[in-house]
């Protein structure tokens, strides 16, 4: 063995140590270089090097050292490189780590008294609420100061998101907690034939056995070997079950799973587990004692000392006072004696007690209840346990306090698919805990369908002194700096429920979320109220997550779908400006939308309309369906014809529109708006499946089976004549509002219809999608001499506005009923039934709804912003502008909008208030169309 240089606090090899003395590591803390070993935590390496203080407390800025030496240790949160909020008593040391303290404003070594004077006004309980009342003008200043209070580290503004992973897991049994009971449960469940996920927060399985004596280590080796032989057990360490939800949907966060993807280490993985049964073997958490000076560096829990000594071979002090109420405290005293630390035992079971600890950056003296003063640099407390019940609470349980054993125990209110194992259920030797765990594991497996249940052997509830607070006041919540005095004050101010006290004082609301503090908080509430039964106080509700999770892990990898048409490569080559339209990326324009409009009106243009929803409808009953879905009539649509239709929802509100064409005797294609494609399909299925299952209709969505392109403009027929075969394009052979199947640019199976959204002669061609780019390019090749250019969504929007065609959800909203949208001409109230009919019948008898009208600003250069209000006087809104553009065709601004019925008469001048509060007059025009109102251009 090589002799690595360490300071005097590193011990000779210990039986259960997890450090590798052959592998020294160098790292930096607060600007200085230190060394440790592989297997050290950041904190154990620093303690071994003589460092006592790792942070400043949240409010009082007091120095904080090791308390629990676990992930939850409130004083050991540090910054590692770019990563904030690293739990230094948990995180394993790595070579070259750049570790720095967090939350040490003004600095780690700043004088405590000075800080307290400076910050006095912010330190009372409820300071959040009190500070922000008056005067309001000081709020920005408070914000500045409180901002510096905020716990937490820093992230670089340009930090990468990193690679956070997610994974779904299906198991019969999930075991939360890898101590003796959890390991035994996993083995028993596996032996029953169940698949098992065994999760533990630490880097290795074993729980408290890891830092125990020889017998514990022997039992640990045996259990680990049993776990290892079962291939059906997946072991996940350095991971935590953070939540249990309905039907055993379980969240497990796996930290640093040791996987790299393309050179990037996965920081955290969120596993979404569906388990038949959940075994909760979360064990006990040692709780701190409340007394003056209980947060001084050098005041530690007995389990913290045993971890440092036995796992990391670190001497946590030289002269110790051990205040013990139980066997674990006694074992700790023994461990300390073994490594040569002077120990003064204060035994709570003989009614001895400690009153206060004194010191500066480290404990120096302990004053006992009998007045004696003992000098020391380490004060160890072993005053009892908090049952780690959060997962049980999430499964419906409300654990009850047992004064004899001085802790909470589960009740029988648990969901059947959740089983308790081990120390949560009671006290026992290792073999008793293992037997209990094994029974729980077998029962859990049985409830997931493997083997049969095994009754759990009863575990005793060993009497334990109730020790929560001494005769002095001290810190209850180490993360939030809440003292027992604060809680008494809260009681005096009238906060008498634990839930209110929690919110007012913020006790149990810090990063450790009550794991160390909740029992003490309940006890002190009980004391303040003079109540002896803690169950009268109750506990605060434990909610997920059990441990903090990074937002990155919750966000995971983005799965946002992006949809492209087959012509996307062409659009990109031709500098199309991308428009995000729902999931779709569409060309907004290719540089100059006004020129695109002019080109379409003059010669011919082509737009990619692939996102248009398309449903293939087949069967003899399709006309019945169309009559039901649309407000207009469909019984007599001839083969080869298309018709425009509007759909209303059952509340009469305009839902979607589009054209439907009849391709054959029993074959139709329905188109919907691009954004309505999915909704209309679901709506159609809803009618067929839940109202008319007897109708013979097959509905198949074919939206992206076809690449769709609209060829528009007076020269569109000439252009298509060059590429279309099998169809006579002459006006009388293929008139407006008709459909033909055709071969286009050698591609068979295309269908095309003559419609006129832009107001021009135009053909919408639907091409088998894999050939979309081929046909698109062929059209441009063929029409080069005709001046064909592409046009985007913006040019199309301008042209449809010139024509007065409304767009559902742009010009209509969730309150626009059919007649309001000027659809009276196509709503056929004499049909027996259609979606929304009753509301439309009633609307037809009223006259009080706003009307869709065309409007033109009197000043043709003003384009009122969309959503500008139409107003009367200073307080009355009588309409709104829903669409507005400068019309390149007319050389003036044009609008669509809603106005009250009395203002809908053509020629009425209404007042529009612009966003800058200017008021401008608009004139209501005849009809909705600003251009070619008779539609002559579409019919040429």
């Amino acid at each position: 063995m090589s002799t690595a240089v360490t300071t005097g606090r590193r011990l000779a090899p210990q039986a259960g140590e997890v450090i590798d003395r052959r592998a020294p590591l160098s790292f930096r803390w607060d600007g200085k270089t230190y060394t440790g070993f592989v297997g050290d935590t950041i904190v154990s390496a620093l303690v071994a090097s003589g460092v006592d203080v790792f942070s400043r407390s949240f409010k009082y800025k007091r120095p904080r050292g090791v308390l629990s030496a676990t992930f939850h240790d409130p004083g050991c949160t540090v910054q590692v490189g770019d990563e904030p909020n690293v739990r230094a008593a948990h995180r394993r040391l790595a070579a070259g780590m750049e570790v720095s303290p967090e939350n040490v404003w003004p600095s780690l070594k700043f004088d405590v008294g000075a800080a307290n004077q400076l910050l006095g006004r912010f330190l009372s309980s409820g300071f959040y609420y009190k500070t922000f009342i008056k005067p309001q003008r000081l709020w920005p200043a408070y914000q500045q100061i409180l901002g510096r209070f905020a716990a937490g580290g820093v992230t670089a503004a340009d930090a990468e998101h990193g690679y956070f992973d997610k994974r779904y897991i299906h198991v019969d049994v999930c075991v939360a907690g890898g101590g003796p009971a959890g390991m035994a449960a996993a083995v028993a469940a596996a032996e029953s034939g169940a698949s098992v996920l065994l999760v533990d927060e630490e880097y290795e399985l074993g729980g408290h056995l890891r830092y125990g004596g020889d017998a514990d280590l022997a039992a640990l080796a045996e259990l680990r070997a049993e776990v290892a032989v079962h291939e059906s057990i997946e072991v996940m360490t350095n991971a935590a079950v953070t939540g249990r939800y309905d039907m055993n949907w379980i969240a497990v966060v796996q930290r640093q799973p040791g996987i790299s993807v393309q050179g990037h280490a996965i920081h955290e993985r969120l596993c979404k587990v569906r388990a038949g049964s959940l075994v909760v073997a979360a064990g006990l958490i040692e709780r701190p004692y409340v007394f003056a000076g209980n947060d001084l560096p050098g005041v530690m829990l007995s389990t913290a000392v045993r971890r440092l000594v036995n796992l990391h071979a670190v001497r946590p002090g030289d002269n110790a006072v051990v205040f013990t109420a139980n066997a674990d405290g006694d074992a700790c005293a023994q461990d300390l004696r073994r490594i040569g630390v002077g120990v003064t035992v204060v035994d709570a079971r003989t009614d001895a007690n400690i009153r206060r600890a004194e010191g500066g950056k480290r404990v120096k003296t302990v004053e006992l209840a009998d007045g004696r003063r003992v000098d020391c640099d380490l004060l160890v407390t072993a005053v009892g346990w908090t049952a780690a019940t959060p997962l049980l609470n999430m499964a419906g349980d409300r654990p009850q306090y047992d004064a004899t054993a001085a802790r909470f125990f589960p009740t029988d209110r648990l969901a059947a698919n959740v089983v308790v194992a081990g120390a949560l259920a009671g006290d026992g030797s290792t073999s008793e805990l293992v037997a209990h765990g094994a029974a729980a594991g077998a029962t859990a497996a049985a409830r997931a369908g493997h083997g049969s249940e095994v009754p759990a052997p009863a575990l005793a509830r060993v009497p334990h002194p109730e020790l929560y607070r001494s005769t002095t006041h001290g810190i209850v919540d180490f993360s939030e700096d809440v003292s027992s005095k604060d809680m008494f004050s809260a009681k005096k101010e009238g906060y008498d429920s634990i839930e209110l006290v929690k919110r007012y004082t913020t006790v149990t609301m810090g990063p450790s979320q009550g794991k160390l503090e909740s029992a003490n908080a309940v006890a002190i509430m009980a004391e303040a109220h003079g109540v002896s039964d803690f169950n009268e106080i109750g506990t605060t509700v434990w909610r997920p997550p059990y441990v903090p999770i990074t937002l990155g892990a919750l966000g995971g990898r983005g799965f946002e779908n992006t949809r492209f048409s087959p012509m996307q490569p062409w659009h990109e080559q031709h500098n199309a400006k991308p428009l995000v339209a729902g999931d779709w990326i569409r060309p907004e324009h290719y540089g100059d939308p006004a020129a695109e409009v002019a080109n379409v009106r003059r010669s011919v243009g082509i737009i990619d309309v692939t996102p248009l929803g398309k449903l293939d409808l087949r069967g003899p009953d399709v006309p019945k369906l169309l009559n039901l879905l649309y407000v207009n009539k469909w019984s007599r649509l001839p083969i080869g014809a298309v018709r425009y239709g509007v759909m209303c929802a059952e509340d009469g509100v305009v839902m979607d529109d589009g054209v439907t064409g009849r391709l054959g005797e029993n074959h139709y294609i329905m188109t919907t708006t691009s954004s309505g494609a999915a909704t209309v399909w679901e709506w159609t299925e809803n009618w067929l499946q839940t109202e008319h299952p007897d109708w013979q209709i097959h509905v198949t969505p074919v939206t992206t089976g076809y690449a769709s392109m609209n060829v528009a403009g007076p020269k569109s027929r000439e252009l298509l004549g060059r590429v279309v075969s099998g169809v006579d394009l002459a006006n009388d052979a293929f008139p407006y509002m008709h459909v033909r199947t055709a071969t286009v640019a050698d591609i068979a199976g295309c269908f095309m219809w003559r419609i006129g959204f832009t107001g021009e002669l135009s053909y919408e061609i639907h091409v088998p999608a894999a050939y979309g780019l081929h046909v698109w390019e062929a059209l441009f090749d063929a029409g080069f001499d005709l001046g064909v250019v592409p046009f985007g969504v913006e040019a199309q929007r301008i042209m449809r506005l010139e024509k007065g065609h409304f767009i559902v959800a742009q010009d209509t909203d969730g309150l626009t009923l059919g007649f309001g949208a000027d659809l009276g001409w196509c709503i056929k109230l004499d049909k027996d039934d259609f979606a929304g009919k009753p509301e439309l019948v009633w609307q037809s008898r009223r006259d009080d709804y706003q009307r869709l009208v065309g409007m033109q600003p009197v000043d043709p250069t003003i384009v009122p912003a969309e959503a500008s209000q139409i107003v009367e006087g200073t307080k009355k809104i009588v309409g709104r502008v829903t669409s507005s553009r400068m019309s390149p065709t007319l050389g003036r601004s044009i609008c669509l909008g809603f106005v009250e019925p009395r203002l809908a008469t053509p020629g009425t001048i209404v007042t529009c208030q612009l966003p800058d509060r200017r008021r401008v007059p608009l004139k209501v025009i005849e009809g909705l169309a600003h251009f070619d109102p008779d539609g002559a251009r579409m019919r040429i």
Binding site: Y168, P768, Y771, H774
Partner: protein, 212 residues
């Protein structure tokens, strides 16, 4: 410019950008990249895909006993999938769609039953994920239990894969290698492909052209 335009030769394209080298094979632009990686993803969009809708208790069902949620391999390199209650999707060799549509239509032409046969070749993107680690990669995207007991070979299901509605068919290779066919509506094909490549990165996934 005037005169008759020169029509380019039609080329069919998948929605997924083909990994070089790219060639036109059977009228389709495909990648001819070969891979021997343990985990591979291939774009098989060019295969023909024909959907049938029929009465769940009718004549077509009697002749095609592939139940909803399962698939069968049929002679002629066909895979028939029970894709919906009363719905089937048959995947076959590239270019065979028209013949397949005709055959399936003819089969029950005189049964007096309403059967719809629709060529969905152009409407769907089709991928194959192959290799022992395909379960691990899929489990990062899909909440369905991929264990043999739940989804054995030739199990078919539709669920969310990378937040996209996707049809999945477990279709192991002849030598027993684990393999999945995945298909989704065409315009989302690149998204599904990217999700699979990303999920497979941990296992060293490679992209391979379709078998030619």
């Amino acid at each position: 410019m005037s005169g008759p335009p020169i029509a380019p030769i039609p080329v069919a394209r998948s929605p997924i950008v083909a990994t070089p080298p790219v060639e036109v094979v059977a009228g389709w632009e495909v990648s001819t990249h070969r891979s021997t990686a343990a985990l591979r993803v291939s774009d098989l969009t060019w295969l023909c895909k024909v959907a049938v809708k029929a009465d769940a208790n009718g004549a077509f069902t009697a002749r095609h006993p592939t139940t909803f949620g399962s698939a069968r391999r049929l002679p002629g390199d066909l895979i028939e999938i029970g894709s919906d209650p009363g719905g089937w999707l048959t995947i076959g060799p590239v270019g065979d769609a028209a013949a397949l549509v005709e055959r399936l239509t003819d089969e029950v032409a005189d049964a007096g039953e309403m059967v719809s046969v629709i060529d969905l070749t152009h409407g769907r993107a089709l991928l194959r994920l192959t290799g022992p680690d395909s379960v691990g990669a899929l489990a990062k995207l899909c909440a369905i239990d991929l264990a043999d007991a739940v989804t054995p070979n030739l199990a078919a299901f539709r669920s969310s894969v990378g937040s996209l509605v996707t049809d999945v068919v477990r279709d192991d290779l002849v030598d027993g290698t684990l393999s999945y066919l995945l298909h989704c509506e065409r315009s989302s094909g690149q998204h599904l492909f990217s999700c699979l490549v990303d999920a497979g990165a941990e296992y060293g996934i490679d992209i391979a052209g379709p078998p030619i």
